[in-house]
Each structure stands twice: as C-alpha cells, then as structure tokens.
Symmetry: C2
Subunit: 249 residues, 2 copies
C-alpha cells in the first residue's frame, strides 16, 4: 500500500460532495477568468481579494471597506460595480495596496461549499499561478481535491485542463485513483502544445462565449503559465498571497 | 442558426438535472456492465429486463413474475438472488423467453431520474448495441442526452468513452454545444484503437475493480461493438427490444 496522500479531481461543484474535503487542501479552479484575475490582482500588490456571490453584497462590502468592486453579468460590468473580470483591469499602478471585492458565481459558490465541508485549506489555482500552486501542494504533502468551478455546474474544458496541468507536474507524488483525474490528465496531454488552439478546435463553450465578447487577449493570458505566480489562500473571508503573508511575519 | 436537434452528455447522474430531459431521448449508459448485460439478455431472447434499485425489490418481483433474478454487491451475487451481472450468464439457452429482474444501483437510479424528469424516451446504450442506438437516434432526429451512469456519481472513463463513440458516429447531425461531449469525443478519439488498452493504461477505477474480480473476459466483451445489437427501450417499467416489439406489431 502506498502512503502517498490522495489526489482527486471534481469536475463540477455538483460533484464536490463526493470527495472528503475535511481532510484535504482544495484548489478552486476558475481559469476563465476569476482565479486568473485573483492571482493577477494579488501579484500586482492588491492587499487582498474578497470573493462574494452577489452584486448586492459586492456593493455593500465595497462601501464598507472602501474597496474596488468588480464583477460581470453576461459579459458586462454588473450594474453598481466599477470594474470587470478581466485580469488586464488590475495592473500594479491601479490595484497595489487596494482591496478588491470580486463577485463571481461559479468560483465563489464552490469556495463556500469547501468552507462548509471544512476543507483543511482553500487556495485558488489558474495557469497564471500554476507553479506556485504545485510547489505549495508538493510542500504540504496533504490530500488534494482539484475543484473545477465549471459553468453553472456544467463541466468545462479549461478548468479540467488546469487540473490536468497540475497532475502532470505533481501527480506522481500522490495516489491518483480517480477517473476524473485521468480524464483531466489526458486532456492536458492532448492540449499542452497549444492550449488556445485546443479550446478553439474543441469549440469550448466558455472560449466561444468570451471570443464573442472580443476577449481573445484575456483567454490567451489566462492560458499562459506563471504570469502572476502567487499563492492565493483563503483566510478569514479573504484571499491573500500566502507567500507574501509568510514573508511579512 | 442551426435547426439540428441538440446533443448533450451528462457525465454523472449528479449532473443530469442540468439538461432538459423533458424534450429529449436519454440514453442510459452503464458499460461495465449493466447496460451491456441488458443488451445481451434481450439479444438472446429475454422477453424483457426489469431494472430495480434494491435486492429486496428484485427478490419480490422475481417471485411475483417467476422471473430470473440477478444482481451483485461488491463483486458477488447478492444474497437472495440467483445470478450475477455478467453478460456471459445470459446465453440464449438460458434466457430465451424469460423475464430478467436486474438490480443495478447506478444505472437504475439514473433511469428513475429520467422518468421523473419526463424524458421523451429512455433507451439503454453500450458498445454491445452501439449501432442500434446510433441508428435509432439518427432516425428519431430528436434532442439527445447521453446519460452516463458513472459509479456512485463519480465520473468514469468507460461510460464517457461510449458517449464519445456515439458522438463520433452521429455528432455531426446534431448541435453539440457541450464541453462534456467534447471531452467524451476526445477520449474516444484517443482510445478507439484499443479501448481495453486505454482503460488499462489509464488504470480506470472500474476496470481495476473488475480485473481484481478476474473479469477481464467481461471487460473485453463489454468494449466490443455490436455483439448484441438490439435497442432496449423502457416502456411501462420494462426494458424491451424496441425493434422486435415493432416487428411483432
């Protein structure tokens, strides 16, 4: 028997209850674009990112904390908020030392589920911070659930691809007895030479949606590795760069 | 805009509520081994197969109908039942003109969900009856949901592979705006030269489980195309060979 910790992939929030989160680190994955934007904002010096599930709550917290509010509905900045979901909206000149309150539906819901289930640790992952996530998971040597935020519970390609990228890097150090992880790995193996081309060819539904909004640049950025290589960890309602928090101690 | 009917893949019963079944044909897929065994029993002349979700109900109906009872729990024939889940237990000499009451957990649960959601038509699919399923779906020209029975709601490779096989044959006649279908297609494309080898290499969890029970022959049969090319359709609580029922009219 292997003593390696386990690694599972949950392809949708509607499947995450199948995995034992209470003894696991969960990586929340919402590649297009929430977790890519979270990594980018923290990389560019945001003090923290507060993920919320509704526009109302976003406005409320924004006022309370004098924070930047952001979120989209149907591809447009949601009414009452100031900014959108694009990582390009959060350069250092703008976001440094600020708090960002971000409303995202899929990722935030999954995060709250993970909280309720008592996950040992909650971090967010995207290609923008792939190495930071993998290094951390290796160092922790704990059970892992790779939690795809998906789209309204429907499995999507890009989140599964990121799960596959993590497994390609660190899978051999874990016990992977999980067909969803095998599927993610196979997808990534097929796609890794050209992630953008892969999503295009498969006519991935979210790729399609964002392309229709003229967001090719966003997609390409969100598929690039280590552009914002921080480790967002959820602590007391906020995502903070765990490595920076450690340095500041 | 395309006027083609839609095709979606539900990778787990826990995801099937995301799709509009009320206007769709659903194909219940439980490759290892329930839907392969159902096709085989009907191909070999069983009058009908009655899927039930518990051993108790199986025993009860078996007595009531003087039917053959079958089902396994943890790889063994369940206590009180006569037969197991292997397609090889149902040759013509044995099953012809008999009624088979089969208890399967994953597939039956999905079937009952489809019933509750008012699916237009419920059929079962497996590699053993791939052509019959595809021919029927093409002829009907209705919306389709390929419903993987999975394993206790966990996505599995073999059911996704079968969905991919169906899409490879008939996908171009449908509107496929569904990442799960794209994933299934990619898996099948990767695997089609050697399905058994593919499951082995991926160490698919269910492959692994059955191999441990010494059931390689079952797996190989369940991955072979058109060995029992009938069309099991669920009508009034029973799965009957729809093509034979049509002839007998």
């Amino acid at each position: 028997m292997s003593n390696k910790p386990s690694l599972h992939t949950s392809l949708s929030p509607a499947l995450v209850h199948l995995y034992d989160l209470s003894n696991s680190i969960i990586v929340i994955i919402d590649v297009l674009r929430a977790t890519s934007t979270i990594a980018t904002a923290l990389y560019n010096g945001a003090r923290c990112v507060i993920p919320v599930d509704s526009v109302t709550r976003c406005i409320e917290l924004g006022k309370q904390l004098s924070a930047v509010t952001a979120g989209e509905r149907d591809g447009k900045i949601a009414e009452g908020l100031e900014h959108g979901n694009s990582p390009f909206e959060y350069p250092r000149e703008f976001i440094e030392n600020k708090t960002l309150v971000l409303t995202t539906t899929n990722g935030t819901r999954l995060l709250h589920m993970a909280l309720e289930k008592g996950a040992t640790e909650i971090i967010t992952g995207s290609f923008a911070n792939l190495s930071a996530v993998c290094d951390h998971l290796l160092a922790m040597n704990r059970n892992i659930v790779l939690g795809c935020a998906a789209w309204k519970d429907r499995v999507n390609l890009e989140d599964a691809l990121f799960a596959g990228a993590v497994i390609a890097r660190i899978g051999k150090h874990f016990t992977v007895n999980c067909d969803s992880s095998q599927i993610a790995s196979l997808l990534f193996r097929e796609a890794k030479g050209d992630l953008f081309g892969f999503l295009k060819k498969a006519d991935a539904s979210h790729y399609h949606r964002l392309m229709n909004f003229g967001l090719e640049k966003d997609i390409r950025y969100c598929l690039s590795e280590d552009e914002a290589n921080v480790l967002p960890r959820y602590v007391d309602g906020k995502l903070v760069d765990a490595n920076r928090a450690e340095e500041e101690k």
